[in-house]
């Protein structure tokens, strides 16, 4: 049966608390605005419907990120998914260097992009990312290593950073 409903009384505040984080995560994984918007909308819809009980704010955030990543994966699996305007067209990079890096990041496989985003942008540890994505820590570590190898030419300052 369904879990006990713990729907936030102020759902708008709940959305405000998480929307930017989820939107950026979805953008990083999907690589375009239209899909990212749909994914985040669906994630909030699920949060509204399921209204699970969260012990902490961190738990709440982790649940939402996990749902968002799962929805991204589902959408990416669809063979007939219609790609729309690329991310860099919707949100142009400020400088050539930034554009170059983003082009390289967006060219990575989506699973690498998810790992890169959660590690570098969200600041999650490998262990946290493994928990969020449902993968082994060694898998996440391998994804990060391979992603950084692919980004080697544009990731000068970070390349030797340990994970």
């Amino acid at each position: 049966m369904a879990d006990k409903s713990c729907r936030p009384e102020d759902f708008e505040a709940f959305v405000s608390r998480h929307e930017n984080k989820l939107y950026r995560t979805a953008l990083a994984v999907m690589g375009n605005v239209a899909d990212a918007e749909d994914v985040v909308q669906e994630a909030f819809l699920r949060a509204y419907e399921k209204a699970p009980a969260f012990e902490t704010g961190g738990h709440e955030t982790a649940w939402l990120i996990r749902v968002t990543l799962n929805l991204c994966r589902s959408r990416l699996r669809s063979p007939w998914r219609k790609r729309t305007e690329p991310l860099l067209v919707s949100y142009p990079a400020a400088e050539p260097e930034q554009r170059k890096l983003l082009e390289h990041v967006l060219a990575l496989p989506s699973k690498y992009r998810a790992a890169i985003h959660l590690f570098y942008y969200e600041g999650y540890s490998v262990k946290d990312i493994a928990h969020l994505t449902g993968q082994q820590e060694s898998t996440v570590r391998s994804q990060l290593t391979r992603a950084r190898q692919k980004l080697k030419s544009v990731l000068k300052e970070d390349y030797h950073e340990s994970i």
Partner: protein
Amino acid sequence: MKAYNDYLDAISVSNTLHNRFVSCATNAGPARYLTMVRRYAAAFACLAVVLLGALTVPRLFPENTLPIAGLSQQPAAGGHIIMGSGSSDKNEKHEQDLSPAKIIDGSGYAQADACYPVPEPGACQFIAPVSDAMADYAGTDAVLFVAINIFSADENPLADGSEEMQKEIRRLTDLGYPMRYSQAWTYQGKGEQIPYTYLSGLFTVEALENFPAGADYGYSFYFAHNGDGSPAIVDVSAFEPPGDDLDLTAAYADPDFGAYLPVDLPSGFTFESATRVNDQEKNSLSALWIKGMGEIHWRVSALGEDDQARITSIADRQNYDLARYPIPRADSVPDELREIVTDPIFRMEDLTLEVVQARADEAADAGDISGPRMRFSVLYGDILVEIRIKGATPEDIFQLLQQIEK
């Protein structure tokens, strides 16, 4: 990664988008409730469909009414179907030429990303992708495979299998709008795929525009999708006239098509069902073997005029080599090749293992078996063998096809 972080820091959710997130969640009550009900009652729904089918199929196919015709991309012998009349008199029937019938599902159309109010009684609502498709195919004979929600005046959806729903389906069927329950799947828990049923129909744009809405109900038309966003598969057999179920021995003994069924199936595959259809519209023999979630579906019929366009030489690899077309194929397959790339027809004398391998699409969907999926057809003289494969290798299938040497 500072540049990456700076880039994302500069991106934030706009007010419009924020409002969409909030309103879509808080306003999606009835439709989502329906989904939840369907999700948790899937097992019951499947049973209900079987019972419903047994009880109502005879009533849904009046003797003088053809069910949807020409849907297997074969030429409909008469090429006509009884469809609902125009708005001038919605209680009359008229015949509408539906040949050749091209089926349009949600492929190539993004899922609806907006919220919609429940349609008022007497009104029809076409959710954005359906309305887009209607615009794209207006004035053509293309047939849209749509899902339908029927709402009562109190804005609640009619329950599947309820007396009210059956009565309304019967009314629409009598007006030439046959409907069937179809099945798609959604996710539950950690990637578990569970089936759900929905009311569906195959209609031309003209038929949709003239849909004979009842005064007591609101109707919402949309493209059904699976949990991973892929379009729900058109179960053409559900719209086919009921055929004769056969056992395997009787299927092999069929004088017209039995010899075109495979004999030595790959290890583990067991016979599930076979159907013979032979009426004014169709003449075919279908057989299904399964192995867990794997399946080998074989359909034998005479080559139709509409099939001719899908016959390809193996030299024309652009017509069938899936490796040339990365996913998403909505982007990579040119529109003019969509039909032939989806289901090419090879002459048996040309067929090689490499060609079969070129039709294999690797899939690793959670909740389903991994491994290749294949869809193509093979021509033995003027006999067409259409195959749909899940869970068998190209080598297995090539061997099966070679068993049938004509």
